[in-house]
């Protein structure tokens, strides 16, 4: 049995974040504490504007907190070091956004290979093989060479999921990954996300407005006015 602390993939302590300037300045996150465990799927739910996306960007090191700490695999990532952020992001964190953000000039497989290329641990051949296997895991084994514009919305989002898993991150963060999809596609995307995570032992955090999907997660975190409630 692993000890509890070793199972923590990502942790944050007393996170605060303001957004906007001057009169418009809003205290968006008001002291958020959170632990994400490997192999566990958590959902964040809460009213629009409560700060869910803001929290996710902070946890994904895409932004800087005003105060508080973020620890990835037990190690603190200083808020003001862009280089450290970038490195940890590439190695340990996968991101799925509400919008797929695939690069339109590249095929599905090439999009999935982009994070691997940056990390530079695999040969061209290995990267290709890995991209193909990830794409077939999300049910797109036949369409690896299509451009994003030649895929449906659900398929695009599944390519984005494959891409987020490219470097086997310890943490997978998804911000309303099914927000733009119909019920059937939502379920399919959600299933590929959670199933892969369980198999590969990743910590998954999903922001969703869909109560059915939230119920399928191991843990539901409710957020209001920049804090978790109860």
């Amino acid at each position: 049995m692993e000890s509890n602390s070793e199972r923590i993939a990502l942790e944050c302590r007393d996170l605060h974040k303001h957004l906007g300037e001057g009169e418009m300045r809003v205290h968006v996150l008001r002291g958020v504490n959170l632990k994400l465990y490997r192999g566990e799927v958590s959902a964040i739910v809460g009213p629009s504007g409560c700060g869910k996306s803001t929290l996710l960007y902070l946890l994904g090191l895409l932004d800087r907190q005003d105060s508080g700490q973020i620890l990835v695999r037990g190690e603190e990532v200083p808020a003001d070091q862009d280089e450290a952020h970038t490195r940890v992001r590439g190695e340990h964190i996968g991101f799925v956004f509400q919008f797929h953000f695939l690069l339109p000039e590249f095929s599905a497989a090439e999009n999935v290979m982009l994070p691997m290329r940056k990390l530079g641990r695999l040969s061209e051949k290995e990267m290709e093989a890995r991209a193909c296997s990830l794409l077939s895991d999300v049910g797109l084994g036949e369409k690896t060479h299509r451009l994003p514009s030649q895929l449906s919305g659900g398929e695009q989002q599944r390519v984005a999921i494959a891409r987020s898993l490219a470097n086997l991150p310890s943490v997978l963060l998804a911000d309303e990954p099914t927000g733009n999809l119909d019920v059937k596609n939502s379920l399919m995307v959600f299933d590929s996300l959670t199933q892969l995570a369980k198999e590969k032992g990743q910590a998954v955090l999903i922001v969703t407005h869909n109560p059915d999907l939230a119920d399928k997660c191991d843990r539901i975190l409710r957020m209001q006015d920049g804090q978790f409630i109860d």
């Binding site: 895409l62 970038t86 992001r89 590439g90 509400q98 953000f101 982009l114 940056k118 309303e176």
Partner: protein
């Protein structure tokens, strides 16, 4: 982007070809100077005036000094002992040849007209060695001149004015005497001022005409390396104790003019490159603005700021690579094309074609200008792209 590339190509090409033209004319001008008045002219003897200084040492002994007083330098006109001076300067490595010349004002009278001018008394062989006189002869020949003790070589403009030609005779007056001379040859240097006034005759004839039995007016010196003439002149001045004028100093204002022209042409043509740089700058900026999401997503995958700015700098490098290569080729082509264009000209020099002279330096300067401008133009957008905070971009684009 293609427009900017074309701009860089033309900018670099024009830069090279305009500089080549100016250098071509400058070269022709220098060649003309060296072919007429020579590289160095040794003129008046320097007579230092000395100042008597009495000083006492610490022991109390009195010592006297003579100090050369530079400000009170005096010049004694002409070179009194040309042989000694020539002997001493021929020791200098860069000195090729020297020709003593005696000079004076004359009046000329042809059957129909009168004119005034300058006579140059020369030793033919010496003078041919320090000038291009032999090549400048249009009618008659140097052999004819050599054979005729009372022969002269006259500029073509003067001959036209006096309405005389080779073989005809003419009366020349100087001081208080007049003699009859025969026109042995007619020359053209291309410099109107010379072609209008200068008459060459044998040294002995000039001596008796001008009543100058000793000494010469100046010594004309040619050198192997013309760029070394300034230093040689300095040496000669010290060795021979005569005032010397190297061509760079004699034609200082012309050299300055060429320099200024080159600089202003460089600036003018560089504006083409600058405008292309601006075009490139705005194009790249638009691409950055257009691709913020892609940039943010690459950043979220672990691509660093440098990775992002390199993408945009690469665009600059590619434009630079092709821009400078094609620009240099274009420059060489234009330069070649121009050199084939007929362009008859005379006045300060004579030529029938456009003059060009390319040096590696023109290419280097053009490339450096393009590199600096393109790098500045792509650096700013690249840095802008690198500074984007992925969170801000994605927040702005998501719901």
């Amino acid at each position: 982007m293609l427009m900017s590339l074309a701009g860089i190509v033309f900018g670099v090409g024009f830069f090279i070809s305009t500089q080549a033209q100016l250098s071509g004319y400058q070269e022709l001008f220098i060649e003309t100077i060296l072919g007429t008045d020579g590289a160095i002219r040794i003129e008046d003897r320097i007579q230092d005036s000395y100042v008597f200084v009495a000083a006492s040492t610490s022991k109390g002994d009195n010592t006297n000094f003579f100090i050369a007083d530079e400000k009170n330098r005096r010049f004694v006109e002409g070179v009194e002992h040309p042989e000694t001076v020539i002997e001493s300067i021929m020791e200098l490595q860069n000195v090729e040849a020297a020709s003593p010349v005696i000079k004076g004002s004359i009046q000329l009278q042809s059957p129909l007209r009168k004119d005034s001018g300058q006579v140059y008394g020369i030793n033919v062989d010496d003078h041919i060695a320090v000038s291009a006189l032999e090549d400048q002869i249009q009618l008659g020949s140097i052999v004819d001149f050599r054979m005729a003790p009372m022969g002269i070589i006259m500029g073509h403009k003067m001959a036209a004015r006096l309405d005389v030609s080779v073989g005809e005779s003419i009366i020349i007056r100087a001081v208080d005497q007049q003699r009859r001379f025969t026109i042995a040859a007619i020359y053209e240097t291309g410099v109107s001022e010379i072609d209008k006034t200068r008459v060459f005759m044998h040294m002995s004839a000039a001596r008796s005409l001008l009543k100058k039995p000793h000494g010469v007016t100046f010594i004309q010196v040619s050198v192997f390396d013309r760029n070394h003439a300034l230093i040689d002149a300095e040496m000669i001045e010290r060795v021979a104790n005569h005032f010397t004028a190297p061509w760079q100093e004699r034609e200082k204002s012309w050299m300055q003019l060429f320099k200024t022209l080159k600089l202003s042409a460089a600036i003018t043509v560089s504006t083409i490159i600058i405008v292309s740089g601006l075009g490139m700058f705005s194009t790249l900026f638009m691409i950055v603005m257009d691709k913020t999401r892609e940039i943010a997503i690459l950043r979220s995958m672990g691509y660093t700021r440098n990775d992002i700015s390199n993408i945009f700098l690469w665009q600059g490098v590619i434009v630079l690579f092709w821009g400078t290569i094609l620009g240099c080729v274009l420059g060489a082509l234009i330069t070649y094309g121009i050199s084939r264009l007929p362009m008859p000209l005379s006045g300060i020099f004579a030529t029938e074609y456009f003059q060009v002279k390319s040096t590696v330096w023109h290419y280097v300067q053009a490339v450096v200008a393009a590199v600096v401008i393109v790098m500045i133009a792509s650096l700013a957008p690249a840095r802008r792209a690198a500074r984007l905070v992925p969170g801000d971009v994605i927040r702005g684009t998501a719901t």
